[in-house]
């Protein structure tokens, strides 16, 4: 084959022997050095590779262009380019970029074919060095990458210059660019034909379409027409910049677990707890930031409780027998996030507004054309460090014309462990107490603390509100041992503002965050039971072995001072609704004075199921003047409702340590 070629044979005659000997020794020296050092280098590389391989990382070699401060690199814009994507990596010699935020200022100058320019200044914050990018140059450390896009429409034939204005925490940045190219009609049709089914579907998903096959032909062509291509950077002298090689470790996408939507977040400390109620079958996750020891106390509907202690995060699932009351405490001050999924979720804090009153700035309510009933709830603001219960006295002054009636409502309030003010950090509210008041027509009520400050939330009884539903339970079911505090209130009492709003203008209403809790019922605080008397001879019926009266029978109660509870059993042959109310048999009516009253007697609604005996209790408040009353059961005329009450020959009340509660 080489017959026609005169190739001189390479041999010792052409190379001086002395030079060959020197080269041999030099090569031997380099080889021995390399052999000595290679285990060290290999061990380092191998250990890094092992770490990355254990994380499932795949290695790719990428080339990037270095841009020093005040330096500039240029990208020529090829035809059919509408967008440029630039990948930026911060670099630093000798020390890694350990700050969480590494600010960087780039100036992008876009020039179109006719020489018109547009400037954009981009303030970026690069992430820290994590090892995702590993430079092949020793002693060079690089940050994780950040990408940004540049609008390149109308720049065909022009260029984009990227200048590094400042990068205080690093030495230079490394850039890589891609251009988004739109294929022509012929090319895009060819592209669609050659794409595999998987690739077509991937393109459709990327364009946020559900399936490729669902798309019209022109939409398929449009999606397939977009292609990202690498674009080289040039120096200002139009010479291609020298690229630098980096190893890029791509980590597999993390497996996405079902999201944990945030139910709420609040600060917690050893003295300030977080409380909420979680519905049955809800999964709950509690996380503290910064991490700290978490103690979670769970109260179950049967009154039993249990504690969970974990660092940083606690997960648990509420059983079908829920809801559970949950109280979270942290060992140090920390932000606590509560997340939940499945189930009906979490009953988080509710917001209630209150007006702060002092002896000199009272909360005044002026009456209107009609008498008003008010529910006055109050709390005392106390320092976060307060532990002892606080004595509270509220001056209630009612003025009717020239007549003035002054009373004092006294109580003791403990600091609320989980309620708080929305914006205050140095004080917290106490637990709540409340009373009822009546304002006569054209009267005025003045509410003020005897000393210090009190936060009042005053609500007015809506005269048009329907009766409140009474809690009922089947007669075989024992009384609940827990009750929900802070649940959905009855909307018959409507929050109102003071009539002297202008006096409170300097301190706008406060917003309190009130926790929902499951509280164990304190039986020792139940009201005394009320007995009834009846006129004999009315229709009677035996239900479940007990005698019941027809609801139209005359049931009477004789009331003395103080509130009491009237236990009732109700039965209906068909599903119906009954309104229970009280009718005074005295000429003066039922009200004994203006208040304050701890319990208010008002009509209550009961929903009865067909053929089911239900137990309930009706409150006879301390607003009733002593005397005789008749209990009325208002129901649709055709429905037959049967009632059983505690009957005594002599109508009087006597104390029974409570089995009944409202």
């Amino acid at each position: 084959m080489n017959a026609g070629w005169n190739i001189p044979a390479l041999g010792p005659s052409l190379v001086p022997r002395r030079f060959v000997r020197k080269r041999f020794w030099a090569t031997l020296l380099i080889l021995s050095c390399a052999i000595c050092l290679s285990p060290l280098a290999l061990s380092k590389l191998a250990s890094l590779d092992q770490v990355l391989a254990s994380a499932g990382a795949q290695r790719t070699r990428v080339f990037m262009y270095e841009l020093e401060p005040q330096g500039s690199l240029m990208l020529p814009i090829e035809p059919n380019t509408d967008m440029l994507r630039v990948v930026v990596v911060g670099s630093s010699w000798n020390a890694p970029l350990n700050s969480d935020v590494n600010p960087l200022l780039l100036v992008v100058k876009a020039t179109d074919a006719s020489g018109r320019t547009r400037h954009e200044e981009l303030a970026l914050e690069l992430p820290r060095t994590t090892g995702r990018f590993v430079p092949e140059t020793p002693a060079l450390h690089v940050s994780d990458p950040l990408t940004f896009n540049i609008d390149a429409r109308d720049l065909s034939g022009g260029s984009v210059a990227v200048k590094l204005k400042s990068f205080p925490k690093g030495d230079s940045v490394l850039l890589r660019a891609y251009r988004r190219q739109t294929l022509g009609t012929a090319d895009r049709e060819a592209q669609v034909r050659t794409l595999s089914t998987a690739k077509r579907q991937a393109l459709a998903t990327r364009a946020w379409e559900s399936t490729w096959l669902d798309l019209e032909e022109d939409q398929q062509l449009e999606i397939a027409s977009l292609r990202w291509k690498k674009a080289p950077f040039f120096e200002e002298s139009a010479r291609e910049a020298k690229p630098l090689a980096l190893m890029l470790y791509r980590f597999p996408a993390p497996v996405r677990e079902a999201p944990w939507p945030l139910a709420g977040e609040l600060d917690s400390s050893p003295t300030e707890h977080i409380a909420f109620v979680a519905d049955p079958q809800t999964q709950v996750r509690i996380v503290s930031d910064p991490p700290t020891a978490l103690e979670v106390m769970i109260t179950q509907p049967d009154g039993t409780s249990r504690r969970l202690r974990q660092q940083h995060q606690v997960d648990f699932s509420v059983t079908e027998q829920g809801p559970w009351g949950v109280e979270v405490r942290t060992q140090t001050v920390s932000r606590v996030q509560v997340r939940s999924r499945l189930g009906a979720g979490i009953h988080w804090y509710s917001k209630v507004s209150a007006f702060r009153a002092t002896p000199s700035t009272p909360f005044i309510v002026r009456g209107t054309h009609t008498p008003l009933w008010l529910r006055v709830a109050f709390r005392k603001p106390v320092a976060v460090s307060t532990e002892a219960p606080q004595p509270v006295a509220v001056d209630v002054t009612t003025t009717i014309g020239r007549r003035r009636d002054r009373r004092v409502f006294q109580t003791t309030l403990a600091r609320a462990p989980s309620d708080r003010y929305e914006h205050a950090t140095d004080e917290v509210p106490t637990e709540r107490d409340a009373f009822y008041l009546q304002i006569p027509r054209a009267g005025e009520v003045r509410l003020a603390p005897r000393e210090g400050a009190l936060d009042f939330s005053v609500a007015e009884l809506d005269p048009e509100a329907p009766a409140e539903e009474l809690a009922v339970r089947p007669f075989t079911t024992p009384a609940p041992t827990t009750r929900l505090i802070g649940g959905e209130p009855w909307e018959g009492f409507v929050a109102r503002r003071p009539s002297n709003l202008e006096a409170h203008a300097k301190s706008p209403p406060l917003t309190m965050l009130l926790a929902q809790r499951l509280e164990v019922v304190d039986r020792s605080r139940a009201l005394p039971l009320q007995y009834t008397s009846r006129i004999l001879g009315g229709p009677r019926r035996l239900i479940n072995g007990r005698g019941f009266e027809w609801s139209g029978s005359h049931l009477y109660v004789g009331i003395g001072p103080g509130a009491r509870v009237l236990p009732l059993r109700l039965y209906a042959d068909q599903a119906t609704e009954v309104e229970i109310s009280l009718e005074s048999l005295q000429r003066r009516g039922r009200a004994q004075s203006l208040g304050p009253f701890k319990y208010l007697t008002r009509p209550r609604q009961v929903t009865l199921a067909k053929g089911q005996e239900l137990r309930t209790s009706f409150i006879l408040g301390d607003d009733l003047a002593p005397g005789s009353y008749r209990v009325r059961f208002n129901k649709p005329p055709r429905d037959a409702v049967w009632v059983r009450a505690l009957v005594a020959q002599q109508v009087e009340s006597r104390w029974v340590a409570g089995e009944f509660d409202e």
């Binding site: 967008m83 609008d151 946020w208 559900s210 209107t368």
Partner: protein, 338 residues
């Protein structure tokens, strides 16, 4: 969802058959569809809401076809952001507003992606509303030749009592464009910080609407002058005359003090056609506006629905228009002629 719900809802020219299917498709997918008389720009529109269970999307769309810009709110779980979107959408002539209500994900959520992709097929103008923490990052930025769209937004902002600078596009916006935007699309990004969101919020108006819900008052986004003109058209010449002091008393009790008894009194007055009333969100806050025939002509009572101090001293003016100017942020004014 895409074919039977989003496509007809956001179509430029919806067909009667696709519209007829809409309520059934909505119910089947757990949504509730409401056809409203005066939504975006006063035109009739569709309102797609959750049917009870949590659903990722809520959509407000012009019923006659979505031809103008579409506003997207990727993180709409904050009510303030929804308020700002509704007000800006109406003021900047958006034809549809798409709210992503799921807490996590935004454009990672399939429902929002589907809604965006549906519009991106045939439509080119998008407004995207987001919240930012840094007040310096609040502003309007655009991608592509969106000068007209941007101008519309800048003109609409003062109606909400807001002013925003034009700022460079942020990184999330640039990322979104690369993932979603086919060639030729115009996108304007509005970023609002929490203080501006608070100012644009309809919270006071919502609270007042809830507090006075039994009165079924109409609520407007605009000025006292505009609302007064509408009420004047509704007020009958035969309405009985009322004393100014009585009107002030009723408004103070029902609106300023939020008394249930006062509200009942106001309801009686409105039912008897003795006065006309409405709620309005003005650039300086929510206001209650009442117009009645008084002893000397007409009485205009404008009260703040929030806890601001109310100056209820009576002013005198020649016309109701002059009264509305005097009482732009609250007050009482008597005018001899409409």
């Amino acid at each position: 969802m895409r074919r039977f719900l989003l496509e007809p809802l956001l179509a430029e020219n919806p067909t009667p058959s696709s519209n007829a299917l809409l309520p059934f498709a909505a119910r089947a997918l757990g949504y509730r569809l409401i056809y409203g008389g005066s939504l975006l720009g006063g035109a009739p529109g569709w309102l797609l809401l959750s049917g009870g269970e949590s659903r990722p999307l809520a959509v407000l769309a012009r019923a006659g076809g979505v031809k103008g810009p579409v506003m997207e709110v990727p993180y709409a779980y904050r009510p303030e952001l929804r308020d700002a979107a509704l007000r800006l959408g109406a003021a900047s002539f958006a034809d549809a507003i798409v709210f992503n209500l799921s807490f996590d994900g935004a454009y990672r959520q399939d429902a929002l992606r589907a809604a965006h992709a549906e519009r991106a097929r045939s439509h080119t103008e998008f407004i995207i509303l987001r919240e930012v923490e840094d007040p310096l990052a609040a502003g309007v930025s655009s991608w592509g030749p969106a000068a007209g769209l941007e101008q519309g937004i800048l003109e609409a902002l003062p109606k909400l009592g807001l002013e925003l600078p034009i700022i460079p596009l942020g990184l999330p916006a640039r990322d979104l464009i690369a993932n979603t935007s086919p060639i030729g699309h115009q996108l304007s990004f509005i970023t609002l910080d929490s203080a501006r969101l608070e100012r644009a919020s309809l919270r006071d108006l919502r609270l007042a609407t809830r507090s006075l819900s039994k009165l079924a008052l109409p609520a407007f986004d605009g000025t006292v002058a505009r609302v007064q003109a509408q009420l004047a058209r509704k007020l009958s010449d035969r309405s009985p005359r009322a004393k100014t002091s009585e009107l002030v008393d009723v408004v103070k009790q029902a609106v300023v003090e939020r008394s249930a008894a006062g509200r009942q009194r106001l309801a009686t007055m409105l039912t008897a056609k003795r006065a006309e009333a409405a709620l309005v969100q003005t650039p300086s806050g929510a206001r209650f506006v009442l117009l009645a025939r008084g002893e000397r002509g007409y009485v205009l009572v404008v009260a703040p629905t929030g806890v601001e101090a109310w100056a209820s001293g009576v002013l005198q003016a020649e016309s109701l228009a002059a009264c509305a100017e005097h009482c732009a942020s609250g007050g009482v004014c008597e005018a001899s002629r409409p």
